[in-house]
Amino acid sequence: MDFSVLLTDLPTLVAVIIGVPAVLAAYIVGGEYLVRRLPDKARPSVRPWIWVAPALLLVTGFLVLPAIGTIGQSFQDNHGKFVGLTNFGNQLSGFPTGGSWIAIRDNLFWLIFYTLFVLAFGLLLAVLFDRVPYEKIVKSLIFMPMAISSVATVVIWKFMYAYQPPGQAQTGTLNAILNGLFHQDPRTWVQDTTLLFGLIPINNMALIAAAVWGIVGFSMVILSAALKGIPADLLEAARVDGAGEITIFRRVIFPLMMPTVVVVGTTLVIFALKAFDIVYAMTNGNYDTDVLANRMYKLLYQHFPSDYANASAVAVILLATVIPVLIFNLRQFRAVEARR
């Protein structure tokens, strides 16, 4: 490795060390200076806008305007002609296997299983780890997959799911366990569409499992932080009152963590809707594992010329599914507001 670049790329280095903090500080101090110039009465109505302005500006530029463009595009063809709901018709016709239906079904699997598992594991690990003295070590270990890039995650899970014909020495961890411990024939985890417990195809579950493994550290860290925010005396009081640990969790810990659970849950639901990396790299939607984001990506970048019209319709379907989650959040938000 050659680190001589440290000396040559001076403008960037200076910008990072001095420039960026300076711009941020200048905005903050300048904004407050301006607010202070205002008459007393005007301040409370002006200040919030100064505080949220940079965020709104960036978000508008990078997300809002493209999203609006997408919504507009979803009602047009690729030459900009208004076509009403044609694109949505393309995506939503041919139930249950045509259009986007397979992707919608699989996104539903992701929505349920990914969210549930990540939330449940995260909560379980946060609560259990909170009670052992080597918490930091085990937390770091569970967190480690988060630090692995999605490219490497795919490599890892290819090793987990690797398949050799029956009778051969298995090179995949799962098949080795299945074969060695349970004396069963190896499975092609990523291609097998057999239903698991009559609920979900094995290959979808396999992809979800890989994603869950990679993200549990996320929910664990946030939920653990929330757990530590619960005053110890509340738990002690409950213990003194004779409550068992499970009761304490159910009646004291969980309700107090609820707002955080909602935040993590909402984020995970949205991550599930946007699931892409793992599916793209492992199956690209083959064997009925497609998801909306992958479908959209294919329409955009593996389609020449890019099919913006249909990709936009898929994206709008994806965005629309978020609305119930937002309504739930609004209610939660109002409830917290009312309590204080």
Binding site: L10, P11, V14, A15, G19, A22, V23, A26, N78, V154, K158, Y161, A162, Y163, Q164, P165, T188, V190, Q191, Y280, A281, M282, T283, N284, N286, Y287, Y297, K298, L300, Y301, Q302, H303, F304, P305, S306, D307
Partner: protein, 433 residues
């Protein structure tokens, strides 16, 4: 006007902060540079840089090289945003042809030395670069590869007394002989992440070309020949004969084909006893052979024969593929570079490093570093009918559906009719947009 003001103030506000450091960082490159985007990474990237080194040394023009295997997304975005590289090389012309259609790439007729090109390239390669049939050259090929190579382990063949088949029938006989010896004749691996299925699609297009000839082949990829037509259906059925009923001719059957990465596809040939005797793949596969088993040596441990001709009328027909270049900015430096890349000298550099074959007649066969690449080059030179990879010429939707169809076909060959009918329905839409 308004935009200009915005641009200036945006930049000014940043300049204000950085004035202290914005002193004399002028990177003066007198000869200029060329921005290049391609998919060559790893060792291939090193080979490409080796190709460009004499160019930079002599002209002073530097190469700003951007490699990504996400080229589809990256180049599409760059072009749409109005910020494409000067030159781009793609492993398939689909993407570049699309940009030619939308007028994003520059016709090369006045950019490169056409007379030299015509003198040194066989006409097929030049025609391939004129996808719009408007007499304009949009793509030029620098390196190419030959598909339809059947790899085998000569020691295994010798041990069993198998001979290299010289006709389609003898190939079928050989696979029957191997099968009756208790071993599956073939190894096929279809898994390739986002592109899963393509190795099987190679089989089908090679069969189409050799069985039904170039006209059917061209009509087929151009969307004028239905998938359900007798010729195409026959090609799939012929591949079905190779696979055997229930994929019984293939090591591990359908499951293993679907689950095994194409790179690992040939390795069971080298186990003792071998799990299979033959593997159809392009020449790059040798690096995988050697990575999985470092002791393997070309010629003695692995060798190849070309897929035998099926219909004698079309004997010597081969499917080829190659790296196509297109130009997005007509700068003098990019012109110079493109002219350099079409020369035999430039192409020979990579040829010598291994892994590539040159389409340029002036590249001597002696440039090839090993017997295998040399014989590949010989076959290519002798090829009577060279046709570009049909999948890469199809619209992307069609290509993806083609790959998926391969995966479905190996799962259950009896569903061929419905698979082909589905491909027809996609064909009906894919070519119109």
């Amino acid at each position: 006007m308004h935009k200009l003001w915005l641009k200036r103030s945006l930049i000014l506000s940043f300049v204000a902060v950085f004035t202290a450091v914005a002193c004399g960082t002028s990177s003066t490159q007198n000869a200029g540079s060329v921005k290049v985007m391609a998919t060559w990474t790893g060792a291939e990237q090193a080979s490409f840089m080796a190709v460009m080194k004499p160019f930079t040394d002599s002209t002073g023009i530097t190469i700003s090289y951007e490699a990504s295997r996400d080229q589809d997304a990256l180049l599409t975005t760059r072009v749409a945003a109005g910020n494409p590289p000067d030159l781009a090389a793609a492993p398939s012309p689909t993407l570049l042809t699309n940009f030619a259609k939308t007028g994003k790439v520059i016709a090369l007729n006045n950019v490169i030395d056409m007379s030299a090109l015509q003198a040194q390239y066989s006409p097929g390669w030049i025609t391939l670069g004129e996808p719009l049939n408007d007499g304009k050259l949009y793509e030029v090929y620098s390196w190419v590869s030959l598909k339809g190579l059947i790899w085998y382990d000569p020691k295994n063949f010798q041990a069993k007394g198998y001979n290299i088949p010289n006709s389609w029938d003898s190939l079928l006989n050989l696979q029957q002989t191997i099968k009756s010896g208790g071993t599956t004749p073939w190894c096929i691996a279809l898994e390739s992440g986002a592109a899963s299925g393509w190795p099987g699609s190679d089989w089908v297009k090679e069969i189409v070309l050799s069985q039904s000839g170039p006209t059917v082949y061209d009509n087929w990829w151009q969307g004028k020949q239905k998938w359900t037509s007798p010729e195409i259906k026959l090609a799939w059925q012929t591949w079905g004969q190779i696979l055997g009923s229930g994929d019984s001719n293939v090591y591990g059957g359908a499951k293993n084909m679907a689950a095994t990465n194409f790179g690992d596809g040939g390795t069971p040939m080298f186990q003792t006893p071998p799990k299979c005797y033959m593997h159809n793949q392009a020449s790059f596969i040798t690096s995988f052979f050697q990575s999985a088993n470092a002791s393997l040596q070309p010629v003695t441990d692995f060798n190849f024969f070309p897929l035998p001709d099926i219909t004698s009328q079309f004997a010597g027909a081969h499917v080829v593929a190659g790296d196509a270049w297109s130009m997005f900015h007509n700068t003098p430096q990019a012109q110079q570079m493109l002219k350099y890349l079409q020369t035999a000298d430039a192409q020979a550099i990579w040829v010598k490093r291994g892994g590539k074959i040159s389409p340029n007649n002036k590249v001597s066969l002696d440039s090839y570093p090993d017997p295998l690449s040399k014989s590949t080059a010989q076959i290519l030179v002798a090829t009577k009918i060279a046709k570009y990879d049909a999948g890469d010429l199809m619209p992307a939707d069609m290509k993806n559906a083609y790959w998926s169809a391969v995966l479905q076909f190996v799962q259950d060959q009896s569903k061929l009719d419905s698979i082909l009918a589905n491909l027809d329905s996609i064909q009906a839409k894919a070519y119109t947009s």
